[in-house]
Symmetry: C2
Subunit: 399 residues, 2 copies
């Protein structure tokens, strides 16, 4: 049968990263391509104990249908922590548990965007979000980036000149793929532009808890007296990515529509793991656990940066993250990172070419993303050496 | 802020059942409104033991990101069981794990339907599916029902006269809300009509394992030599509803698009519980467990039918299910079950009015759905007595 797919899906391809992820079955390849949290960041012993507790004390509740909004105790604990930790939440706000941070992004776009409505996105940005917006029929339009976040003049111009802008999507803290953060000044400017133009800001903060250097910068949602910011985050980087438990906080009028959409997608998020998260945050020391994860990533990031400093040709530039999972490397002379990534794979080192993260998927990129949370220390050191050698060879071949 | 919602969500309301479900906090109300599996159907002890095993042996894998298609071992086991049990699966088919059966229905519509494309549905049908189709912008058009499934002449006429029909959605076995099944003859007719007209059949079979009387009827998917049937089911009614683990089987060309859509929605289904299901089906005796659930529902259904036979005014008609979770009651003289359901709540008994399940939500219905899997035996007997008395009073008040 010749299936006739819907307009939104006809041309949508699987995420390139997940395709790379799937192809990495060759154990001789060192992968800097994934974005997985370190397995050391999962508090296995505590989770095992708490899970046994749930099976013993409240199995019927944990294994039965729940309500779409999420397990009530967990929603309360999330709201409390986000308030105290990130200044998030006003009386008009509501907290909903989602199946990973991904679902919050997708639901927000789904309830707001008609076909061909526009989501303005940092360019480059998180491919999972870009594809979710495209799947909703929305157009992703890129905002050029400075070192410290989107270029504000460019954003103002885009907002003025682009019809049907419904959302501004940003990852202000330890952005994926760049690893760098948006300055406080720019966060305020983004908020004001959105407010003035009646556009919703979708703030994605999966890495906010993972700061291992520098000073905390307030979230955009913490300014939100007007109910214009939808804030998404998750437990993926601090408890478990595989459990798919995230959350979204935003004005109740908007979130109630997202609840209707979520009901259509999966009825509710895995109930057992919602209760497990609830027990973890109420019975264990989450802050101490997060401190441990930060130490792991501080070490791994420094190791990767030190090795890059030592090995990489000086003409290659890279970001110096203060948190998160990623470093963004830029080749000299506008060389194409797509071609380079293929060359790198032949040298047994995997990176993600920058074009993957572009709003315009056909636009070439001179940059690529590398990750330090997944590889072992040995793989980081050896991998960077191989990568540097590959870069050197590649540059030489182009001159 | 005055949010401008997308066309598909502007008018979409939360499922009435889930709203009833939420309002049932009054412990003096006996609820026949839910559709929850009996907590006795969850194999708690085995799941607890297997979960402890996973935490001990493969915690990093279970708590880490997985691939969108699902945990490979589980996909294989599902394919094997559906093949041997229900004759499902050809070389062109692919199995994907979904976040509950709900997600399979939603993804299928999402990748096939543009705005205003039509899904033909049994009328009445499962509200969760109807809302998922509406959320995709599709129109739900009802196919009138006979006792033994859709009216085939009506289906043929609808297919001929309705533009842009993309899907025929059916629950042939122990339908929700009617509790009755589609005859073999009609299943074959549906398949042939779909094939002749190049329409995909979406076969939903959440209750297929729950037959406690009568003879097995082949699934529509078991006829599928042409790759035109997408088959959805789940572990919700046999292991745990709250874990949200379902699956979809269909032609790989179609399912690969659904995988792209799933990636946008939740990246993948809870990995830990996918592994838990895998361990259950490979290390425990699923058939023996299902036999136990069947015995529970056989008993509960018979108890409800016996009490209905004894208590209910003879002018009220009801189905006599051979499996599943629901009985469908029809009031005499075309009385409105919406008004009756409100009256029943005032008498402390909750049922779901038939209009909830109509494709045209404004069309009245003389029928309502009652459920026997969730209430205790005592609640079934007492609840039916209260219900019968409420019906008697309501009918009398209308004469």
């Amino acid at each position: 049968m010749d299936y006739k797919f819907s307009d939104s899906f006809k041309n949508l391809q699987p995420s390139a990263i997940r395709e790379i992820f799937k192809s990495l079955t060759d154990p001789t390849i060192i992968s800097f391509a994934a974005g997985n949290p370190s397995p050391e960041s999962f508090p296995v012993e505590e989770l095992a104990k708490l899970a046994a507790d749930i099976f013993e004390k409240t199995p019927s509740q944990a294994l039965q249908y729940g309500i779409t909004e999420g397990f009530p105790g967990l929603r309360e604990e999330i709201a409390k922590r986000q308030k105290s930790r990130f200044g998030i939440g006003r009386d008009f706000d509501m907290t909903v548990v989602t199946s990973g941070g991904q679902q919050g992004l997708e639901l927000c776009c789904r309830v707001l965007c008609n076909k061909d409505d526009v989501v303005l996105c940092e360019n480059p940005s998180f491919i999972g979000a870009l594809n979710a917006f495209r799947a909703c029929g929305a157009k992703t339009v890129g905002i050029p980036m400075d070192e410290d976040g989107v270029n504000i003049e460019a954003l103002e111009k885009l907002v003025k000149e682009t019809p049907n802008v419904k959302l501004i999507y940003v990852i202000p803290t330890f952005q994926n793929p760049r690893g760098s953060s948006t300055s406080l000044e720019k966060r305020k400017a983004i908020y004001e532009i959105a407010k003035k133009n009646g556009i919703v800001v979708l703030e994605d903060n999966p890495y906010g808890e993972l700061r291992f250097a520098g000073e905390e910068i307030p979230t955009i949602k913490s300014f939100d007296e007007d109910g214009i910011v939808v804030y998404c985050s998750s437990f993926s980087k601090i408890l478990s990515a595989g459990m798919r438990v995230g959350f979204v906080i935003g004005h109740a009028d908007l979130l109630q529509k997202m609840v209707v959409a979520k009901q259509c997608e999966d009825v509710h998020t895995n109930n057992f793991f919602q209760m497990l998260c609830y027990k973890y945050v109420t019975e264990c020391d989450l802050d101490a656990h997060i401190e441990k994860i930060r130490a792991i990533y501080r070490h791994k990031c420094n190791l990767m940066l030190d090795t890059l400093d030592k090995e990489m040709p000086k003409e290659v530039k890279y970001t110096r993250p203060e948190g998160g999972l990623f470093i963004w490397c830029t080749l000299p002379d506008g060389l194409d990172s797509g071609e380079f990534a293929k060359f790198a794979i032949s040298k047994k080192i995997a990176v993600v070419p920058g074009s993957t993260f572009n709003c315009d998927t056909k636009a070439p990129s001179d940059s690529f993303r590398i990750n330090y949370s997944t590889p072992s220390d040995e793989q980081i050191v050896n991998g960077v050496k191989v990568l540097a050698e590959a870069v050197r060879e590649y540059i030489a071949s182009k001159r």
